[in-house]
Amino acid sequence: MTVSQRLRPLRMRLLMLLAVIGPGIITANVDNDAGGITTYSVAGAHYGYGFLWMMPFVALALIIVQEMSARLGVVTGKGLADLIRESLGVRLTALILGIFVFANLANTVSEFAGVAASLEIFGIPKFISVPVVAVIVWLLVVRANYKWVERVFLVASAIYLTYIASGVLARPDWTHVAAQTLSPHVSLDAEYVTLAVTIIGTTIAPWMQFYQQSSIVDKGLKITDYAYERLDVVLGSLFAVVVACFIMIACASTLFVHGLRIESAGDAARALGPLAGTHASTLFALGLLNASLFSAAILPLSTAYVVCEAFGWEAGVDRSFGEARIFFGIYTALIAIGAAIVLLPLKSLVQTMLASQTLNGVLLPIILVVMLRLVNDRDLMGRWVNGRGINVLSWVMVIALIALTVLLVLLSVFPGLVGPA
């Protein structure tokens, strides 16, 4: 057997992996969007390493949820909205999608806020940057080929690696970091709990489940490819959480140690000081801009597809406006309203971004319960239903999330409910 013949199986397997990779890694990168970067930066700056203990659990949760959504897509060959409509009926579909559209509007606002914040670092006021970007994004998706758009953004998202580098270059005390990661300590003040829900909401955003499943269905992956897809999902999730942790570490070791809070994106940019020195702001702004642009492009589009898919309306960017009125209507409305809200005189763009991710966290249990219902349906999944272990873990997750949300609501209504820990 020649060398090339022996390498063939390896080459084939690598090619298989590369062909299948996409949904997981993309979703992971989309995860670190404007809302994500802001959330992790704020968490690091305001609580130092105080949230690191949570991240392994968040990673586990993300992997479980993404894997379920991938499995649903591969086994049924249908998108999540499709499944919800076919298995759970119109009323529930209308309710869930109504919530979904609302949450996505909030997320779109967050993306445009990210665009505004990043361009503000370059001195461009939001009244110019946001409308221009909104129009560009709209045109980009409607006119350009999506595959190309996706690739460009994916390549540009290598910028996230700068956070990892920055985190390392800040020379934190790694033993201290490790110790903090391993010792859970919970402060029961409102901001801590809110940030906890926000972190979960931005890492496991509900809209990501719909997007990833559609992406997988679109690739036409079969059960036989599933092992590769699972690997893709796990790797993507881990990558997302690792970047998140490093963002936290970078901000913790630069901002938290000096007691600086983040009120604007410029503050967060300072965290990249150790890596980029004077060019910290530029690098940060570019990373944030890239993340916001990509998500601003696909989020409204994904929402429009999902809604039209569920209700049987014509959808597709290759249709004319007359043919797919509702599809284009939803898409345009999301971009227009999202951009408009950002232009309102808001207190702080950072706060806006955080609020939208908190909303994600609050709504996540609903989507999870729905997914659990679908993934345990033997008629739908055959022998690929959840094993008992995963079911237990998932339900623990759901209960923990709901508990956190209830706690959050209580604490915001009765601020002094629980004394300092």
């Binding site: 249908k78 076919e86 009323r91 269905v217 589009l301 597809y305 209700f311 290759d318």
Partner: protein, 418 residues
């Protein structure tokens, strides 16, 4: 006319007034191939399990509560058969193929009709009104729309124009799907471009090789490639043999070298040779666009003999607009149309009525010049000859004009989700 959404959830009580359960689903029977399947049983959900009640035991269906005609103890449960179609489980909210409108739509509601005391599945509601009815706001929606002087879209499709997606058909059900095979390949291609990958491959699997080849010819090569990705090589080779050689060559050009080599080896020798020859020319040249299936005769044949020859061989040739006349060395010396042939006296040799000045193209001519020639001379096909005047194939007008006039009607690979 009752809608299924209005019936489900109703309480079912027996002749003594004792509550039996709630109506969960209705079973229609597809055996007997009626255009509108009769309802044969009800699925009633009880506190412990479900009960199938045959329709003959139902006294009243269209009432606030459904009444049985017997006490519950004397009801013999309905025995499931392989022709059972569960309306809620298998049809409602699912995607179906509308063979009238040639599109894929989603079922929002189902309308029943009552004839001679029996109920039949009449129409499928795919319109906005059906959606509103499910959400319980149909009347409100109609009132609101009425104020604006419009009406809510109500889209009803008769059941006999509907085809369930092969992927959605319940395992034990035997539903004849000849409606799909009767559709024009261009319409089939349209429907396929609306389906997800899994559903479209199942639909393609249900087609015979000829229809499959015709359908594939209606879509762009990159879409073709993605559709046959999961098909076994033997089947693809059969399909390639059925397709016109130039189409087959286009498809093979889209695949990886390894796969296309394997497929060519599986194909019939002659067919493969024809396709290989076409593959050897640049894609956009006359050689790459031409079809090697054409009809050619010797100049000494009479009109009658030529017609007889056509009857024998025209099956192989795709297009017989024109018949070409070639000498022993394959040089193109003339051409005549079917019209010429039919109008000529049977004993006339073709050399007398053929056109000697033939408009030709060379193997490496660009698509532009082909299109110009075809437009200028109003041809349906253009023969392709080499430098010595030997004939190699014909370029049909649709292929020549393909890149000039955008083929918007040819289905493209759906991108970004779709």
């Amino acid at each position: 006319m009752p809608f299924v959404s209005e019936l489900t959830g109703k309480v079912v009580a027996d002749a003594n007034g004792a509550r039996v359960g709630r109506l969960d689903d209705l079973i229609a029977s597809t055996g007997g191939n009626l255009p509108h399947p009769p309802i044969v049983a009800l699925v009633v959900k009880r506190s412990r399990g479900t009960l199938l009640i045959p329709l003959c035991d139902i006294a009243v269906l269209l009432a606030p509560a459904i009444a049985l005609s017997k006490p519950i103890e004397s009801v013999a449960p309905y025995q499931p058969t392989e022709h059972d179609l569960y309306l809620v489980r298998d049809v409602l909210d699912k995607q179906i193929i509308d063979t009238n409108g040639m599109r894929v739509v989603r079922v929002n509601d189902l309308e029943l009709t009552r004839v001679n005391g029996r109920f039949y599945l009449a129409n499928v509601d795919i319109g906005g009104l059906g959606l509103m009815r499910r959400l319980g706001v149909a009347r409100t929606a109609e009132t609101v729309a009425g104020r604006f002087g419009r009406s809510v879209a109500s889209g009803m499709i008769p059941w006999d124009a509907v085809e369930l997606l092969p992927g959605n058909q319940p395992m034990r059900l035997k539903v004849p799907s000849d409606k799909i095979a009767d559709l024009h390949p261009a319409d089939l291609a349209e429907i396929i471009s609306d389906l997800s990958r899994a559903d479209s491959s199942k639909l393609l699997d249900s087609l015979d090789v000829e229809t499959l080849a015709d359908t594939l010819e209606e879509v762009e090569p990159d879409f073709q490639a993605s559709l046959i990705e999961t098909m076994p090589d033997e089947k693809v080779a059969d399909v390639l043999g059925e397709m016109a050689p130039d189409e087959a060559a286009d498809l093979l050009a889209e695949l990886s070298d390894d796969r296309s080599e394997e497929l060519l080896n599986l194909m019939d020798r002659d067919e493969a040779a024809g396709v290989r020859k076409l593959l050897s020319y640049p894609e956009d040249s006359a050689g790459g666009l031409m079809n090697s299936e054409y009809v050619a005769v010797r100049p000494d044949l009479t009109a009658a003999q030529a017609i007889a020859y056509l009857r024998e061989t025209a099956d192989e040739a795709g297009t017989i607009f024109y018949v070409y006349v070639i000498d022993e060395a394959d040089h193109l010396i003339g051409v005549f149309s079917l019209q010429d042939l039919v109008l000529a006296k049977p004993k006339t040799p073709v050399s007398e009525f053929m056109h000697k000045r033939v408009v030709t193209a060379s193997l490496l001519d660009s698509q532009d010049s082909l299109a110009q020639a075809i437009a200028k001379y109003s041809l349906l096909a253009l023969p392709v000859v080499d430098d010595e005047g030997k004939m190699h194939g014909i370029v049909t007008s649709d292929d020549a004009l393909d890149k000039i006039i955008p083929t918007a009607w040819k289905k493209r690979l759906p991108h970004m989700y779709r």
